[in-house]
């Protein structure tokens, strides 16, 4: 399943609205101007996910993971490399000295940030599809990329796709790149793309 250019543009535009909300929420929360770079969207089969992400997140990854259920269902993750995760919490919490590990409080901050971003995106999808989506409590994982992908795609017999959205948090002259990964069933992705097409057509009128 591939996105055509118009679909990709429309999806990027929709996600960018969610990103703007996330940026505004984080700015208010931290007192610093937080921006998220415009998204770059791609669709991969879950089997292709590992090589696609390995390039950007070598080594250990920090992920904030929420399972969502309802008429569309799947896994939503915010992925950061470990150093990026440390840097992001330092930037958000005014850490006086750069730390080099994530303590419990830092993990909690990451969980909150991931939660805000995932809620914004999935909430936007829910509105678009006019469906009600429920979320699990977000969980933070620190593991290798392989283990992470394994944990999201096991026990799923149905063919799955991953919507991969690249972005970067820009805070106080620093930039921390990250990925939003939404793993969906073929049916869910189909439905999402249909609605994106409809939205795009509506915008075009």
């Amino acid at each position: 399943m591939k996105l055509n250019e118009r679909q990709r543009d429309a999806l990027s535009e929709l996600i960018n609205i969610a990103f703007a909300r996330t940026g505004a929420a984080l700015s208010e929360l931290t007192g610093h101007r937080v921006l998220l770079e415009p998204p770059e969207v791609a669709v991969y089969r879950t089997a292709e996910l590992r090589p696609a992400l390995a390039k950007f997140v070598p080594g250990d990854v920090a992920s904030i993971h929420q399972v969502f259920a309802g008429p569309i269902a799947g896994d939503a993750l915010l992925l950061l490399n470990y150093a990026g995760a440390v840097q992001l919490t330092d930037l958000l919490t005014d850490g006086h000295q750069p730390s080099n590990f994530l303590d419990e409080s830092a993990r909690e901050v990451l969980t909150e940030v991931g939660n805000i971003l995932l809620n914004a995106c999935l909430g936007m999808f829910g509105n678009l599809l006019n469906v009600h989506v429920t979320f699990s409590v977000p969980r933070l994982h620190l593991e290798t990329l392989d283990d992470l992908i394994e944990s999201t795609t096991t026990e799923k017999t149905e063919m799955h796709y991953a919507l991969v959205v690249y972005t970067a948090f820009q805070i106080r002259d620093s930039s921390v790149k990250g990925f939003l990964v939404i793993v969906l069933s073929v049916a869910s992705l189909d439905r999402l793309i249909q609605e994106v097409d409809a939205w795009e057509a509506q915008q075009g009128r």
């Binding site: 931290t30 730390s99 409080s105 909690e108 939660n115 009600h132 989506v133 979320f135 409590v137 977000p138």
Partner: protein, 572 residues
């Protein structure tokens, strides 16, 4: 399952009532036993559940708050814009409120005041409660993380302290490495500078030993050896000066001095070099300039250093001007030359120790780069200042020394205050007091030094006995009954201090009162003090000046020093 309650639950026939019982047990657990705050509301945010933990920590009993709107019971939730989280929860979102970004949700006193937080620090989850895909309320779980946050802060502080220590240690190490590198470079320079004159000395001495030199060449050899040894002695003197200045041990012997005399003496001593290079030296000495207050030797050293520097860097046929003038309440000594000049980049470092504009091994001009640094320090000690101007490379340089002018009231010229300008020229032994009839015991473990001192003293007519050690010296003392003792201080086994204390313990008829002078390379003030306290009458710094040696021996023997016999061979 052994308990009666367990059996009772197990034997229940209706699944429904079992579930009801379990739900009731869970609710009971949540209400009475949970170690977190648990609050549930309906979809209007009216409080439905307020557990025991919440009662204990907020001081609000369940009956007080049940059925009331959460945002009305805690209006600060709206003020802090945290009410939005409940709105989002009612839309189906789970919200996480981290301690780091929020501190707390509902103000509560910390369990213990020891961590210094005015409020209990909280980690919060706010979730929607739904039934049949319909959201019917919210669930808030509050966890007390005060203790954890305090421990994390301690750990972070420790890590920061450790990294601070690590970086300051790194800094200290790189500072030490830099100092070490400078020292290495300096050692390389000093070895080079000491070896150059040594080559000449060794070379000519070797030829003399072969005995194949013509008388003319032999004279030249001696002249060369003498000149090079002098230059080495100057290097060592400079090094000692620097070490004294660094350790703050340099003392000035301040008296009223006539600057004009000092400048003239310094000019005289560099005259041969000036003539050899065909340099035109112009003197502009204002007689109204003197007298000033200072150390005559050190002032001459200052002027001499500036002059030798000017000669060194001025090419053949160049020009040097020396000016002494009174300007307001100070006296200026200006030495300018038409030499190689100083680049703008190097000007600020001219007075730094061990700095020369050309530090390469192939440089044209030798030296340790100490002269100007010594000038700077000595001028400082005199309460004056030194500055340098140069228009750039090839455009000459001008050094200006400013010294405070002191109106000196001196009715009768004090013999000591008269400047005795030491000339660099050979002092003939001919004019020195006769040591005839004196018996001198010379003690030194170094055979060459023993020989040299013996030879100088014999030249002046004294009888000389030499001993290589303190033990042999004590024997010689009893055997030969010498009139004077000259002893080295640093000797293996027993040093000069030990020797003199043993001698001074002897009765006078066995030589206990023999006048004695100590020889040492350590010319520091405290060494001199120690020498005099230990029983010597004089302190002779190495390398020994022949005239000084003879004068000291004569003085120890109570013979008058006939100063008018000093003949300045080249100066007269």
């Amino acid at each position: 399952m052994g308990s009666a309650a367990g059996q009772m639950i197990g034997s229940m026939s209706e699944t429904g009532s079992k579930e009801t019982l379990l739900n009731a047990a869970v609710l009971h657990w949540m209400h009475d036993l949970a170690a977190q705050g648990i609050v549930t509301t309906d979809s209007e945010l009216n409080i439905i559940e307020w557990n025991h933990w919440m009662e204990a920590h907020t001081g609000k009993r369940a009956p007080e708050v049940m059925g009331k709107n959460l945002l009305e019971v805690f209006p600060e939730l709206r003020e802090r814009r945290l009410d939005r989280n409940y709105k989002w929860a009612l839309e189906g979102q789970v919200r996480v409120l981290s301690q780091a970004l929020h501190g707390y949700l509902i103000a509560m006193s910390p369990v213990s005041g020891e961590h210094g937080y005015p409020q209990m620090q909280q980690a919060v989850r706010i979730s929607p409660l739904s039934h049949d895909e319909r959201i019917i309320g919210t669930l808030t779980i509050i966890e007390d993380v005060t203790e954890r946050v305090a421990r994390e802060a301690e750990l972070q502080a420790q890590i920061e302290e450790r990294s601070r220590l690590l970086s300051s240690e790194k800094l200290a190490r790189s500072e030490a490495e830099r100092a070490n590198r400078l020292k290495d470079e300096f050692l390389a320079t000093i070895s080079h500078e000491l070896r150059n004159p040594l080559n000449a000395i060794l070379g000519w001495a070797h030829m003399m030993r072969l005995g194949k030199l013509t008388p003319a060449n032999a004279e030249r050899a001696v002249e060369t050896i003498y000149r090079n040894a002098k230059s080495q002695a100057q290097l060592v003197a400079d090094l000692l000066d620097v070490s004294r200045i660094i350790s703050g041990k340099l003392r000035l012997d301040v008296r009223p001095v006539d600057l004009i005399n000092i400048v003239n003496a310094a000019i005289d001593s560099i005259r041969p070099a000036v003539d050899a290079k065909g340099i035109r030296l112009q003197k502009l000495l204002d007689s109204a300039a003197g007298p000033i207050s200072g150390d005559a030797d050190r002032l001459q050293q200052i002027v001499w250093n500036l002059l030798t520097n000017a000669v060194k860097f001025t090419p053949k046929g160049g020009r040097i001007q020396v000016k002494v003038q009174r300007v307001d309440s100070h006296v200026e000594v200006v030495v300018s030359d038409s030499g190689v000049g100083i680049s703008k980049e190097f000007l600020p470092y001219v007075f730094d120790r061990f700095r020369q504009a050309d530090a390469s091994t192939t440089r044209i001009h030798g030296g340790l780069g100490l002269g100007l640094s010594i000038v700077h320090q000595l001028v400082d000690l005199h309460g004056g200042s030194v500055s340098v101007q140069s228009e750039g490379e090839g455009k000459g340089a001008t050094f200006t020394i400013t010294l405070p002018f002191v109106g000196v009231i001196s009715a009768t010229p004090d013999a000591e205050s008269d400047l005795v300008a030491k000339s660099d020229n050979v002092i003939s032994l001919d004019g020195l007091p006769s040591l005839k009839g004196l018996k001198v015991l010379v003690v030194d473990d170094d055979a060459d030094t023993r020989e040299l001192i013996g030879e100088v003293l014999r030249e002046c007519g004294s009888e000389v006995i030499t001993s290589p050690s303190a033990a042999e010296a004590l024997v010689a003392l009893e055997q030969h009954k010498p009139d004077i003792l000259i002893s080295d201080l640093g000797m293996p086994d027993e040093d000069g201090y030990s020797l003199i204390s043993q001698i001074r313990a002897l009765p006078s008829e066995r030589g206990g009162q023999i006048p004695a002078a100590a020889l040492t390379a350590y010319a520091r003030a405290e060494d001199r003090m120690r020498v005099l306290r230990s029983g010597f009458q004089f302190h002779l710094p190495k390398p020994v000046d022949s005239a000084e040696l003879v004068t000291v021996v004569a003085s120890l023997a109570g013979r008058a020093y006939e100063s008018n016999h000093i003949e300045h061979k080249k100066n007269s």
